[in-house]
């Protein structure tokens, strides 16, 4: 079974915050991590490989330093890592990202299954997974919370809905996006870490994947950011005072409109 996992390097949320005085993003010491949802996608891919045999390729699009997440993926059980990286990709929105990843998938070759995270925590769009499936012309199912059955033909899955879940069946090739409930990602083993240390990665440029220059980066993106600004500030914090009883009294008074 050949599985491709799309992983994105994102700034760690706990470091990204607005400086309340200057209203700018404080980025001091912003660490980069593998997008949390993608860790669950990777874990599931490695489990499927352990069960059915095969190979797990991790694919990322990003600047050269994004190889760090590929290395992390190898330490957690992936076999091969591909980075699509080119200055020309800068400013890609979800359409251009899906297009570029699809081109890279074609170059990687045959696959049975593609796994993505439900969304990336920097943009929170949840659009790249479905977009990639459309570009590749394969079926997709989003928000997988459980793999019920799997064999060499296909899968039976639970997908999370707002009012419960749907049980669906799909055959290969297919693309799935996953949520956090699916599994518990493993900690890298010592052997995995050794393997990651030595791992080499294939780097694809725009030309390598045969991308049309009008479809990538900012030029290939139908959407364009025209303004970035801080959210409206919240009022000042107000810790109530007095005995517990008095505090509760005050609180219920303040909340009267809602009760």
């Amino acid at each position: 079974m050949k599985i491709i996992v799309c992983v994105k390097q994102v700034p760690d949320a706990k470091d990204v915050r607005l400086d309340p005085e200057t209203n700018t993003l404080a980025r001091e010491g912003v660490q980069s991590i593998m997008n949390p949802y993608d860790q669950h996608a990777l874990e599931e891919a490695v489990r499927l490989k352990e069960q059915l045999g095969g190979e797990v390729t991790v694919l990322s699009m990003g600047p050269p330093q994004a190889v760090d997440v590929l290395r992390q993926a190898i330490s957690c059980g992936a076999d091969r890592g591909v980075l699509v990286s080119d200055r020309a990709f800068a400013g890609a929105d979800t359409w251009a990202t899906s297009y570029t990843l699809a081109k890279a998938v074609h170059k990687i070759g045959d696959f049975d299954l593609i796994l993505c995270g439900k969304q990336a925590i920097d943009g929170d769009t949840a659009q790249v997974g479905p977009g990639l499936a459309i570009q590749l012309d394969i079926p997709f199912v989003t928000c997988i919370q459980k793999v019920r059955e799997v064999d060499d033909k296909g899968l039976v899955l639970e997908r999370m809905m707002d009012d419960g879940y749907d049980v669906v069946a799909v055959s290969y090739p297919a693309l799935l996006t996953v949520v956090k409930d699916l599994n518990e990602p493993r900690i890298p083993s010592l052997k995995g870490k050794m393997k990651a240390k030595k791992a080499e990665f294939e780097i694809f440029s725009a030309e390598d994947v045969g991308a049309d220059s009008t479809c990538i980066g900012l030029a290939g993106s139908p959407t364009q950011v025209v303004n970035v600004f801080p959210p409206p500030p919240r009022g000042k914090r107000a810790v109530l005072t007095g005995t517990v009883e008095e505090q509760i009294e005050q609180l219920v008074e303040k909340l009267a409109v809602y009760l």
Binding site: A126, G129, G164, V179, R237, L240, V244
Partner: protein, 397 residues
């Protein structure tokens, strides 16, 4: 490309601070752009001497750009029920359509939709495209996506809105991608730009730490998914006139390679916390599953739904659909009562747009108090029972 005008740049470093990706550095008194730049534009905004500019190259405008007209709302219908966000979107759609001087159409896809189309007209639609077919009883991305894509190609609306629900955020990206259209996820504000009529789509990014406004200038339709509870629905007006257009889809469009075997509406998960006006959220401070019962009691006393931090979900006291935060749901109720929640950034990311936030925590330094409108420092086992009694007393009187 991000271009730095070295003549204008004074090396002040404001852009360096404004970059969430660490892609700008001031070297020898001038800003230098690194590989991590995503062209988000935050630095351009922040530069006081206008030394930064984004050059996107020329985008070719779609050939039939001008012929796309009208505002559409995808109205989600599942298992006999219309998603409430649909009516809010008709309210927003009406406003946009009036600003553009065009008509507002609703798209209703499903089976046994009854008098839903009539309802949509009463809530502001001038036209309803109704695709009611037993083959559409269950949602699949392929069939719903193919039906909507085909309709959009035929009628060419300039704007398409959909709810940022599980269904909307699943199949709408597929539709937009196959149309080559721009799609903005999870918008919280929509406006028409006066000079060119473009749809200004504003959404939170980085867990609500920044807001970004997005436009689509070269292609049509302009598409977005919109959060629940941010747009206002119009009162039902039985005198509002509209036409219902029944569409019979080509059978080819109704096929799907994904088969739905079963649709499980879960008793426990069915309360969609994104739809509640009041949420009572419990954290690890409740100690154990039994302690968490107190949260449920408090919620019952004020007709609220129950939410939780990830720590609680991981401990198995409540199911994942109740988790709020970066890896759970984003909520914006009128009132959010956080009990025994420390206020980790990943949790705050999912609830900081709530109208009023109340925090109860025994640690006065807990970060949750930084965003709370009202805080009580103390032990929950003492506070919550008293609060329930007080509220019941208040409501009883």
């Amino acid at each position: 490309m991000l271009i730095v005008d070295s003549e204008l740049c004074i090396g002040c470093g404001v852009c360096e601070e404004s970059c969430a990706f660490g892609a700008i550095e001031v070297v020898d008194g001038c800003a230098v752009v690194g590989d991590a730049c995503t062209l988000c534009g935050a630095c351009v905004e922040s530069c006081e001497v206008e030394a930064l500019e984004i050059d996107g190259g020329e985008k070719s405008i779609q050939a039939d750009f001008e012929s796309w007209q009208g505002v559409w709302v995808y109205c989600e219908f599942r298992a006999g029920t219309l998603a409430p966000v649909s009516l809010e979107l008709l309210g927003a759609g009406r406003r946009l359509a009036d600003a553009r001087g065009v008509s507002l159409s609703a798209v209703l896809i499903g089976a046994d939709t009854g008098d839903t189309a009539q309802r949509l007209i009463g809530h502001g639609a001038d036209r309803v495209y109704r695709i009611d077919d037993s083959a559409l009883a269950y949602f699949t991305d392929e069939s719903y996506g193919a039906v909507l894509t085909d309709l959009i190609k035929t009628h060419k609306p300039e704007i398409v809105l959909a709810g940022a629900t599980a269904i909307g955020r699943s199949f709408i990206p597929g539709v937009a991608n196959s149309l080559g259209a721009g799609l903005t996820a999870d918008c919280t504000q929509l406006d028409i730009r006066a000079d060119d009529g473009a749809l200004l789509q504003t959404r939170p990014a980085f867990g609500g730490n920044i807001m970004a406004t997005i436009v689509c200038l070269s292609s049509r339709p302009q598409m977005c998914t919109v959060r629940h509870k941010v747009m206002k629905e119009l009162e039902f007006d039985s005198s509002h006139q509209g036409e219902i257009v029944d569409v019979t889809p080509d059978p080819v469009l109704l096929q799907s390679k994904v088969r739905v075997l079963e649709s499980v509406i879960s008793e426990q998960d069915n309360v969609n916390i994104q739809e509640s006006d009041i949420l009572v959220a419990g954290g690890r401070g409740m100690d154990n599953a039994k302690g968490f019962e107190l949260i449920r009691e408090l919620a019952d006393s004020i007709d609220a739904a129950v939410a939780a931090s990830r720590a609680v979900v991981d401990a198995g006291w409540i199911a994942y659909p109740h988790q709020v935060g970066q890896t759970g749901k984003t909520v914006a109720p009128k009132l959010y009562i956080a009990c025994g929640i420390s206020g980790a950034i990943q949790h705050v990311a999912g609830m900081q747009s709530s109208e009023t936030i109340v925090a109860i925590n025994r640690d006065e330094n807990a970060p949750i108090f930084d965003i709370a409108d009202f805080g009580i420092v103390g032990d929950m086992y003492e506070i919550i029972p008293m609060l329930i009694t007080k509220i019941e007393g208040q409501r009883g009187s």
